[in-house]
Assembly symmetry: C2
Homo-oligomer: 341 residues x 2
């Protein structure tokens, strides 16, 4: 099982990438014959490797001079940055030299490049990016689309639901994930024209569709998969990602009020930290790119070694299970009215 790892993608590259790979090698079962292919600047990667004990890690290095930055336009990578770690990593996967690809780099660029280089799974109109949200339950919620597709038609949302359901059931071992359509009310008469039509499609689908769900249902885990367009999804995702930072700022402001407040905050900090840790997105193994003809896992630029470890393990898992095959066969078995195309 060879995973190509974009070693230059994240904010702490390649140190965190290298450490994450070592952690992954230590955590996968001995049956999984894991090899990590570091893609990036060889000298930098070797420097990071020299800092730690990598004796348990089987790896190779594919040198790539260039780096895709956060400011690079997604669609130009294929034309202008073929020497980047991002492009070369995806190319390795497309050429059959790697079984999956992992990156903490520019999400849009991974999305766009992977779609062009790997192609789409048969039957998929538009690949999508999901995102895991922590919930009060013991399993996370998957939001699709989390920002890849800004303007969506009913057919797109319908496909997101199918891909999300298959991914959730395969990866989290839940037989019939609950699919909810994110909306402004529970009644089936609510929402935009696109959402109203999507409701009808989902209702007739073989999915475990529980109807409309609202913003408040996400963190309470009232559905397993929340379906929405990428505009809404991206705004909620970024709003959610800001909460812990805001809470920390508030706690600090309180501590700054005086000596007693500082003491009180100091006393509560370790417990609060423990509680908030369960809300850490880094635990969830990155987000999947769904609908591309391959295995691509994308992580936050600030991903810790632990987060990168989880992403590599997740990529192995997705590659082992037949997620894309299931998506293709499910979509092939369904007929969607053409006016929703």
């Amino acid at each position: 099982m060879r995973i190509a790892l974009d070693a230059m993608g994240g904010d702490y590259a390649p140190d965190n990438e290298v450490q994450g790979a070592v952690l992954a090698a230590e955590s996968v079962s001995s049956q999984t014959d894991l090899e990590v292919i570091f893609v990036g600047r060889e000298q930098d990667i070797r420097a990071s490797l020299s800092k730690i004990d990598s004796s348990k890690l089987r790896y190779s290095i594919v040198h790539a001079d260039d780096i895709v930055g956060m400011a690079d336009e997604a669609s130009t990578v294929v034309k202008k940055k073929r020497n980047s770690s991002l492009f070369k990593g995806i190319e390795l996967h497309a050429d059959g030299k790697a079984d999956g690809f992992v990156s903490t780099g520019n999400t849009g660029a991974v999305m766009s490049t992977a779609t062009l280089v790997l192609g789409r799974v048969k039957g998929v109109s538009r690949p999508t990016i999901g995102s895991f949200f922590p919930t009060v339950n013991d399993r996370p919620a998957l939001l699709v689309d989390a920002g890849a597709n800004i303007d969506c038609k009913p057919r797109h949302l319908y496909e997101f639901a199918i891909m999300g359901s298959i991914y959730y059931s395969q990866i989290l071992d839940v037989e019939f994930p609950k699919i909810g359509l994110l909306n402004v009310g529970e009644e089936r008469t609510k929402g935009t024209e696109v959402v109203l039509q999507t409701y009808e499609l989902l209702e007739q689908s073989p999915l475990n569709f529980i109807g409309n769900v609202e913003g408040r249902d996400i963190l309470f885990g009232h559905a397993d998969v929340f379906v929405c367009d990428g505009f809404t999804g991206n705004i909620i995702l970024k709003f959610a990602e800001s909460i812990i930072g805001v809470l920390k700022a508030k706690v600090k402001q309180h501590a700054d009020k005086g000596f007693l407040e500082k003491l009180a905050v100091g006393a509560m900090a370790p417990t609060l930290r423990k509680i908030l840790k369960e809300f850490d997105y880094q635990e969830y193994g990155g987000v999947p790119l769904l609908g591309v003809n391959g295995v691509a896992i994308i992580g936050h630029g600030k991903s810790s070694p632990k987060a990168i470890q989880n992403m590599i393990v997740r990529a192995v898992d997705v590659a082992t299970k037949n997620v894309n095959g299931l998506i293709a066969s499910t979509l092939a078995s369904l007929t969607i009215p053409t006016d929703n195309n």
Copy 2:
């Protein structure tokens, strides 16, 4: 200054409404000659009044038999529930017998009834509902639209921005509130067609438009007014409202883990409660209905007496300042390209 209060709207009506009115009477300055007109079931209102000392409150009661429930369809109140406290309260305002209207009832029904009975401010295509969000700063953020208008055209978003800016500046005494367009990225090329066109309108407007803002900017208060359609706004609002409940559930789960955890949570609870209190939406005096030809303040069904007090004080404030007049004169002074209508 006579404020008509829908005494039957909230989940704890009319007790909380009556207590809120008494608190408001105690808190307004002696120059404000406040009279609260309770609208609702006289017997119930008198029963609530008998439980507390209302000697400082100047009030009258207008009896209304009927109640608009949360399940009632918004548009049917005018036809079917003319004897409701909601309808009669708005009617009092329309007839000049009250200077403002306050309700913690069915938001959609207040919106719809107020628009029909009071009419729109000249130049406004669609009235909107804003919502205040707490921020890390010392002033809240105003999100418009928070759910009133699901499908929006550029012209509507543009008007929301103008109404939000005027309301924010008048009520929070901020001379040039920062107006942000909620989007999936900061670059002006981002977003849906509607959002792209709205960007151009806002750029040419006299507003203090700071460009696109993202989901993470709301709680950090990077703008004062966040402009979006009601679909996105409603989902974010409900997501945000769920956070404190989710955090409480997480804290409780942690406490249930064992004796030491329970002790730790017990020790941190008072401080955490103090910190979260600053995030309580009830402090912000309800949300305004903007663009209707009158003063209507709407609150959460679970509003505390304190929250209702703030709403009454807010209604007095909005009635005193010339918010609607300013909206009308500003819109009259601007020409909007007709293709954005």
